[in-house]
Symmetry: C2
Subunit: 203 residues, 2 copies
Amino acid sequence: MSEPIGAPGTARPGGRTARVREAVLRAAGDALVDNGLGGVDLAEVARRAGVGKTTVYRRWGTVPGLVADMLAEMAESSLPRADTGSLDADLAALAALNVATLTDERQGPLFKAVIAAATWDEPTAVALRGFYRARIAEWAPCVDLGIERGDVPEGTDAAEVIRAVSAPLYYRLLVSGDPLDADTGKRAAAAAAAAARLGAFVT
Amino acid sequence: MSEPIGAPGTARPGGRTARVREAVLRAAGDALVDNGLGGVDLAEVARRAGVGKTTVYRRWGTVPGLVADMLAEMAESSLPRADTGSLDADLAALAALNVATLTDERQGPLFKAVIAAATWDEPTAVALRGFYRARIAEWAPCVDLGIERGDVPEGTDAAEVIRAVSAPLYYRLLVSGDPLDADTGKRAAAAAAAAARLGAFVT
DNA sequence: CTTCTAAAGGAACTACAGTTTCATTAACAT
DNA sequence: ATGTTAATGAAACTGTAGTTCCTTTAGAAG
């Protein structure tokens, strides 16, 4: 997250500052998983982290502020894309990875919370968009390779294909509440691949 | 929303009670659109509605409680499905309707808020799932008609096709933040129809 | 029209999330 | 090593979201 220059934690980011950040983000994640976004208060996070609540209020200020910083943390561990030699298998791998993340006991609630926070907090929304732009860019080459192979028509919007794989999974997680399992992932990948092959994502 | 029996508003739902509910839900919608889910407090809603804040706290208690009741209200105006005689056109109509709703100045933020609230409030989540189950059931016959016509293979999961149309739109609204316009809708409908025709949604 | 009481309203109260102040600790530069 | 000061932490403080209590209003039933 881009804090205003001069914000606490920017001039001496080593040692204690880093340890405090780590402890607070970890505690915030725990609180988020346990209580959901609406049930988090910063004083409790501070207590869990073994840190003065003044510090938490000073450095993050609000729950969405904290959430946005967690997202910055998550963004650093980018999932490397697959390269199996076939578009279907690559997309299936992407879907499987998404399913694994979203159904993970810890990461699932975290993603839910981040997305919920982004619906009303602009800095979180900006961070979220950046996060997914990076994720989509990481995986788009799968589709470009498919175009080179002649699997998929020229002019296909690679990003759109990647989005088409993930979308049904997030839709279930956030909106319809339908079950989300390995089979769902396979179907999402297969449907996206099929549509792409037919030129449904040609710009 | 199913309030516990004996809850205020159940024994004398006519006249004033109904007017109060209407005014409060309207004010809550305004507040939600203006300030987002995180910026709503019930006292302000009460003031906007010209209603005692005691009433709001007594009948709805929390912001998600209010949001869940708004959802119940929304559920009553169900969008009737199209029946154009072609699967592609029916799905395109569904997509267009979704785009119109989600980009509407008032309804868009409302849907965002409801979905966000559902990520941590279980009653809201239950109401939301019910809402979308009904929506999906309303539109599933489009696909069944397509199967009868021979457009789409036998055994295709109709609900899954409907979800495939909506999913990319919600994904953009909530997750990736990519633009959401008529063209996006058309592409989502076309991709779902294409995948369905190839049997990607056969159970 | 009268009665009964569910629901709304007003105002005082309370608890606690969030702030402010200032003393203490430890990063970084030299 | 030492000095400087960024960052943390403890405690006292404050504002206000949410509750409680009691009065008033107005639906429903006869």
